[in-house]
Symmetry: C2
Subunit: 334 residues, 2 copies
């Protein structure tokens, strides 16, 4: 089965490029509100489930033990842009657990936020693991490892107690066991287990509502969502989609990007979870898929209007001239 074309890229009068994908919107009981394309094929959720991975940080007691506040919890759920505030928060998370940045196993990369990368170079600095968009998640893994009194050097191994806890949490949220054979290595060296979009969407419906979760887990989910809603800049950064959406909608919408065109989200008021995969891995199209899906599910004109710039983003060239736009196809926007 080929997934439908969901997003078109226009330049001048022609469609220049096309993106296929699949979208699942599911409630906490697994009932489908929307299904586009193949939502039963396992996909790697990558960073789109960082908030689910962070449940172990709260449920293990590590967040309380080390005194992590809302910005730290938001950063644990983040693919941040490596801006100086993100680096400061990641450093503080590690310090609260008595660690320094050498404990991070995510690998170095330059800040995603270009002005921050340029400022870092201007100051004679270089890329470190703290600038890695996953440093908050890794700091969270390390805090959890410390609270569990587990090995601190091998926390990214699939058999490590932290990753066992993460896997069990994912299985519980999705109400589906995950085989060891669908485990791959993520960009930051943490394990990523493949799950179908419908399972992911259901997991996010539960994360967003607490329906079907043990009270302790529902409480942890509420705490993480509140942290992200209060500190959306910590979840991504300046000019980023996740930050912009959560700044506008607050606790009403949770969204999180992942590499290779994945997006997950939750609409607590509607009781729905969302999972999106752009087949070719393009973030630009996954954003339009998520924005158009949110617009379909919103009831007020004002909410839909606020999404319009994300549903049909303009393309500008190096001179700032509008040369085209992205748009959802009828299959997605209907």
């Amino acid at each position: 089965m080929r997934n439908p074309i969901l997003v078109e890229v226009l330049r001048g009068g022609l469609v220049e490029s096309r993106h296929c994908g699949a979208v699942a919107v599911v409630d906490a009981d697994g009932r489908r509100a929307l299904a586009l394309g193949d939502i039963e094929r396992p996909i790697y959720p990558r960073s789109a489930i960082k908030a689910l991975q962070a449940l172990a940080l709260v449920e293990s007691g590590a967040a309380d033990r080390y005194g992590l506040g809302p910005p730290e919890l938001a950063l644990a759920c983040a693919s941040h842009s490596g801006e100086s505030g993100h680096v400061t928060t990641a450093t503080r998370m590690l310090a609260l657990a008595g660690l320094d940045p050498t404990a991070l196993k995510c690998g170095p990369h330059w800040p995603i936020h270009q002005p921050s990368a340029q400022a870092l170079a201007r100051e004679g600095g270089t890329a470190t693991a703290l600038h890695n968009n996953c440093s908050g998640k890794h700091a969270g893994f390390l805090c959890t490892a410390c609270a569990l009194e587990a090995n601190r050097a091998r926390y990214v191994e699939p058999a490590h107690p932290v990753q066992r806890l993460v896997k069990a949490t994912l299985e519980g949220l999705g109400a589906t066991p995950i085989g060891e054979d669908v485990c791959a290595v993520d960009g930051c060296s943490a394990p990523t287990w493949a799950l179908p979009l419908d399972t992911l969407a259901r997991a996010f419906a539960r994360f967003g509502t607490g329906v079907g979760l043990a009270p302790e887990r529902a409480k942890a989910a509420t705490r993480l969502r509140a942290a992200c809603a209060a500190h959306p800049w910590h979840v991504a950064g300046t000019g980023r989609f996740c930050t912009g959406i959560m700044q506008r909608f607050g606790a009403r919408v949770f969204v999180k990007t992942g590499a290779e065109g994945v997006y997950c989200g939750a609409l607590p008021e509607q009781g729905l979870g969302i999972a999106v995969k752009c087949d070719d891995g393009a973030s630009r199209a996954a954003e339009v898929m998520m924005a158009a899906t949110l617009a379909r599910l919103m009831h007020s004109d004002a909410d839909r209007a606020a999404l319009e710039a994300y549903v049909r983003p303009a393309l500008r060239n190096w001179n700032g001239i509008a040369v085209g736009a992205l748009r959802p196809t009828d299959a997605l926007a209907a």
Copy 2:
């Protein structure tokens, strides 16, 4: 008609992402040697036809009049990485025509080559039009405008004499008139006219062989191909696909990337032109499409072996761990 899946992205044991596309391989008379997907739908060739755009620079007499040597001609055909040598050559091209960098209308962007961007920031510099990957092409347009004694401020307008010359050249090479309605604005503000892949491939077969071209044009094409073969670093830059392929194959293979997943090329020995479009616009997949197409057309094991790293590139994460790979599907590799 949906184009076939031509490239898969593997992570762990699963296909994580998929890229659809079309490939045309055509000789100078328009006979098809390979056709995958829809090769008759017009696509914007973007930067993949810079070498064809540069024919006007040579044929107008501008290249001789201003004493442009092979590195300058290679840069006129380039999407360069903004390394210091590229910037120096672009500056020299302008100076030879009595111009300075303020004449460039391509807009500023930071060097594509990240160490060069970091070095620029470290020195307190900023992005300029000279760093724009198209600055060599624009310097070529400006030299042509000067030689034609045409306006130097409006050279990117579709009605400008330089762009009229470029359009007429494209029509001649492809043996097909181009309507005004398929003109869009490129990333550098120059016009880009949509052409079908089979027409583009035929144009590159003629560019690569001179078959069917007036002697003056055939001579200009030979001169540009020789310049690119002698200075492949000037056509792209450190670590880039075009540079690596032409360093290995010299004058036997011409290849040139364009934005939104376009690739064009020529195999003079085989008398063939190649045009590739990845539907979703991904460069990583367009490179695999071009490399796998070249491998199909090569006769020797050594040539095919030299392409293997481009046909099946490994994916490494921030820690340098091999996490997956790209590969052509059977439809492409067969």
